[in-house]
Symmetry: D2
Subunit: 397 residues, 4 copies
């Protein structure tokens, strides 16, 4: 076993960290609107391209850095330290996942039309799966339908948390095409340009007090007799759930390492605050044992979480997604829990300042509460892990 | 021991609960601005006056209901179920505390000028104690000064979390008047009309993503050679800290019971969601044991927290503030912790819906993170409790 | 609401506390065998009788103090501070519960034969319900049968955790008499003298490293064609489960207040240790904030737990067992959890001493782990609470 | 980064696991006395020697397997699954640590006399540092003295938790030789044969209800004018604390991996129980979501803890003890916490069976509560971690 960071990665990671600190952090506006930042972010994207870091998760033939999953995990950790990092590097959800699907399942025509401009950062996209009336925890149970009519699909349904729909050029829509098939084989993924008639943008949902904007938003969408060519189907008909699962596996690594980045930034802020803040003349906050305990518990938990994610990434790289399913589910809920606790301690260590938008902490605190819900709530992942453990003892629970 | 709710209170509480449900809840806009609600809230205030419920915490001679602290605690629980409740009934912080100070320490002139219109709900006020450069956990260590100059005080200093300053008619300012006295006797409380020259409103601080507005805001203020008559002094010079402590004791009961109200509303929402939400065809969320555990843990903790607050209120009512100090500190951190856990579970039970502003939960979740910080952070209260316990064993820790 | 301890109880409680401290604590031998203490305990029982405190939970006509449940709860708290307290006062489980059953369901003959000597402390008894092959969490599912044969019942089955069987004069056995009835109406309670042929004592089960002895033991029993007269039936045939439920309700109050007593003793020991122990020359353990946090969290949780139990007792006293079912289930798991945390902190505060038997803490720590299991494990009570909450929302989960 | 287990280790680990399951587990008597097992354990030691596995942690020249720390960590995990494992393989504390000291600091004569028979398993030893009157958390503050008198040291002092003293041939005693030196340079380590006059064995301390025996015991010792030759000094005079620190670093890896072994065994038992136990006819315990959550939380925490320990071992192997201090402190408290939670869940999943000695769980539960105290309590390690983190921000807390 060798825990050393690959030699070729270290200078890249160091450079990215410096770039984040000097170019990206200064752009953060914790209470503000994403759309107002877009021009400045675009400028930084150009500088990232100059460094050869753009879309780092992509294979080289698609313009990326050709990283292994574990290597990209280390990148994701650095970028995750700011809400803006992944966007500036063009590896943000949901676009990164959509690029992955297009690479793996897209026809040449689909790649030319949708993947290439996404990879260049010229357009944005969204992923339209979650429905308000159906539980996200049970992604095989969908109400949106896509019915074949001549050379078209006609889509009807109601979606929400179609994140980043505002300003996106196209959506990948999960819709039931084979209602009589086995539950896991009912849905398909279909590309729907957002200017298609019947793609009805209802609203950006207000989340934790904010409607959001542009890339940083979560839309409610209605599909009303929304007609697209059958050529827009991704992969096989009925393969929608399978493709979604494949997309989510590495996506969870990306998220988890992004969360580790958040943890590390919060940890640094907590320590800096403890080191600087006087609570009585000449007495620093950091001299207080309760604060020391927060720091120590956070350090131990972040270390443990980080190794767990890197291990899962290594297992996917070496043994494949299927073999790593238990580990992926474990880190999904475990790391989200660590992040919530670390953020809570960092907020508390900052006192009144911690709940203001004068630091990034409050934005992380309210914004990342979602981490325990999206891509499968904690409970779903826990049950996956338990059932696999029980199966080894001969039980199908 | 008798845990029965006093017979005279039950119908009042029932009426208030109905009023809240039919008149107040419908006004809630969880992602919106308070200032936009003010006209509608004013109408409801008139209806509250018609019921004889306005400013219930005040003695009858000041227009209130003449409730004991324990009785008002029960009222506060009902009103706390909505962010709007206390405002509509004119017992909201910081006005309620300021009224209390004026009743106890105000001269007849101060009462006529400031208490009477506050009690009628004609004006609002704020309390200007916390300073950004000094820890709120150590309220005897302030930098703002008030220097006597002829018949005036000249105030200089920097404050923040002067909550509700926007639109307030006056502030009660904590400023050091006796810098050479014992730490607990250095500061005084002084009334400063907000239109006084040198009362400089810097900004509404963005908190958890929102700048807030009107009553629902937290201002940063600079006092720059701000001159007010010495007649604006409240109580004795140097008594500022003592008055603040007296104000905070019952204030913590109000807050804690408000939090119990929040817990109860979140609990109801969680149960309703569990009872309604299908997670598979014919399968309700509430059939899941993990959700059942959230419900049970919440129920037990809310019960325990509620009794603790009512007991502390009873102890203040019967034995006085001083005797109840340990209990007050216990509930301050204990109830805030229960609330945070209950809200977290209720959010999780709602899935994606829980983080949206389509229910009140997200607003409670982000808005009440502050509860573990204001009026003394958890840690300060814990140390108070521990030191009192250790003192009984002969130790001055 | 009135939280004052009844005037008539305070001097009794004070006297009992003094008695415990001067007469009972000195008898404790934390690593030793109960049976070796019995002679000394018997002497103290005589002194308790002289005070008029013996079997305090019993009605006066049966020689007790005629206390309300809430009053006895306060007594149980005092006695609970030592493992020996309830025994010395003759209100220990399982005898107290058995006396309760005999009072309510016993025939005159049964009362004369079994209740009278129990109440006098002349004999001991046991309660034989739990079966190794069947979950204690599902008490309607039993394998032990009692088949009528002439004027007798013939009992066959396998029991364990028949606590205190060693040295007991009789057992109350739960056995299925009506296998075809509704699950809740299948079992009956039958008195079986322990010298009956076929009452086979297998062993005292080693629990947390100790086999125990005499009253302080948990036996495994086999009933092999064990024949007793039908006159030994308690109450109606098929009423066994109902009687058990009735017995457990007040029993849970007794247990919970005993646990509060344990908490209070551990809390006192923790504070005393913090006040005395030097961790560096001139530096007391209690000056450390982490220890202060343990003390404060424990104080707040014990207060909250204690009020919850007293409230549940009051509700049983005033509204009856049925109305208080939710509260009883809440305190069963909530108080056991508080106790576990308080004991854990007290052990940790004592360092190496905490795990030795030089204090009572280690005995409480290992001995009371059972509290989250006996009389219904946490999980069963949580589900009871959740289902009642959900029922109010129209769901039968 | 490469998380694969070294190819040469896997068959060794597999063989050891089989050996443990077939030869060692069957010897366990959870409520019994160690001394009664010694004959059978000695037989198994011979079989371990035949396999070439004896004293695996030792360099080959001393008869061991010459493993790296990380490799031995993997061995320790397997052996830790039983209380008997390390003893059977002769890598049990405190002998393993004493062998390490002798290898590094022993003179040739000391090695011949003490190390060689220890390595062969012919004798046992103990480590006599902790004092009842002085906090183990502050190991530089000792009262035991060793005064030079001619060619001898004369030792006086009072020790406890001199574990395994009963039956040991010698003790390594920490005693103050240089009282006027810097606190970290006051004490020395001295070999004291247990048959020396003045080495007074007071008692085996009763711990969690058991006095223990032989290797499995914790003695109280008085040193009364106990005279040994100065040639018994280990390393330099005044180097006692330094040597102790060096010994504890790898020792903590051994302990932590032993705890992981305990976790894994408890996890297996919990899953097996969940898979087998019927809670209603045809209904398995493992179908219950609460139990599934215990399994999942345990799996994720064990994974995270295990990787943290292996990482710390790797860091010691590659960068040295000093560079890995933060990681060592992190795992010491983090893994002990994980173990406590996993054991608690496994006990609860077993219901009444869980607290009996019919499984190993109760023995682990009560026996390993000590893990959060020995080798530095949680709190000491947390403060080490926090101070190092704060130092990076320029604070000496």
């Amino acid at each position: 076993m060798d825990f050393a960071i690959p030699a070729r990665m270290q200078p890249i990671l160091d450079g990215m960290k410096r770039f984040m600190e000097t170019e990206v952090y200064p752009l953060e506006r914790h209470g503000g609107r994403f759309v107002d930042l877009v021009p400045a972010l675009k400028q930084q994207r150009e500088r990232v391209k100059e460094q050869g870091w753009f879309a780092p998760q992509l294979p080289k033939e698609h313009g990326g850095m050709g990283l292994s999953l574990q290597e990209h995990a280390l990148v994701s950790e650095i970028l995750g330290r700011s809400f803006l990092g992944h966007y500036v590097f063009n590896c943000q959800a949901p676009d990164a996942g959509n690029m992955e699907i297009l690479i793996r399942y897209g026809t040449d025509a689909q790649k030319a039309t949708w993947l290439a401009p996404l990879a260049r950062g010229d357009i944005r996209s969204c992923f339209s799966m979650t429905e308000p009336e159906r539980p996200g925890s049970n992604p095989t149970w969908l109400e949106t339908t896509a019915v074949k009519d001549g050379n078209d699909y006609v889509i009807n349904g109601h979606k929400w948390f179609t994140s980043s729909a505002q300003g996106a050029r196209f959506a990948i829509v999960m819709a039931v095409t084979n209602p009589d098939a086995d539950p896991h084989a009912r849905a398909s993924q279909i590309i729907v340009p957002t200017d298609t008639k019947g793609f009805e943008f209802v609203r950006n949902i207000s989340v934790m007090g904010h409607e959001g904007s542009d890339h940083d938003s979560h839309a409610e969408i209605r599909y009303v007799n929304c007609r697209v060519p059958r050529a827009n189907l991704l992969g096989a008909e009925g393969a929608g759930f399978l493709i979604a699962q494949e997309r989510l596996g590495p996506g969870r690594i990306h998220h988890c390492m992004r969360w580790i980045g958040i943890c590390e930034r919060a940890f640094d802020l907590m320590c800096a605050r403890a080191a600087e803040r006087e609570i009585a003349p000449g007495k620093k906050l950091g001299e207080k044992q309760i604060v020391q305990e927060w720091i120590a518990d956070s350090r131990a938990e972040i270390n443990a979480a980080r190794l767990s994610v890197l291990h899962a990434a290594w297992k996917i790289d070496t043994l494949g997604l299927h073999e790593a399913r238990e580990e992926i589910s474990c880190i999904k809920f475990y790391v989200a829990g660590v992040m919530q606790r670390v953020l809570d301690r960092a907020v508390q260590a900052h006192g009144a300042l911690g709940i203001t938008d004068d630091t990034v902490l409050a934005a992380f605190y309210r914004g990342e509460r979602a981490s325990r819900i999206y891509d499968g709530p904690d409970e779903v992942h826990k049950i996956v892990v338990a059932k696999r453990a029980l199966k080894k003892h001969g039980v199908t629970a």
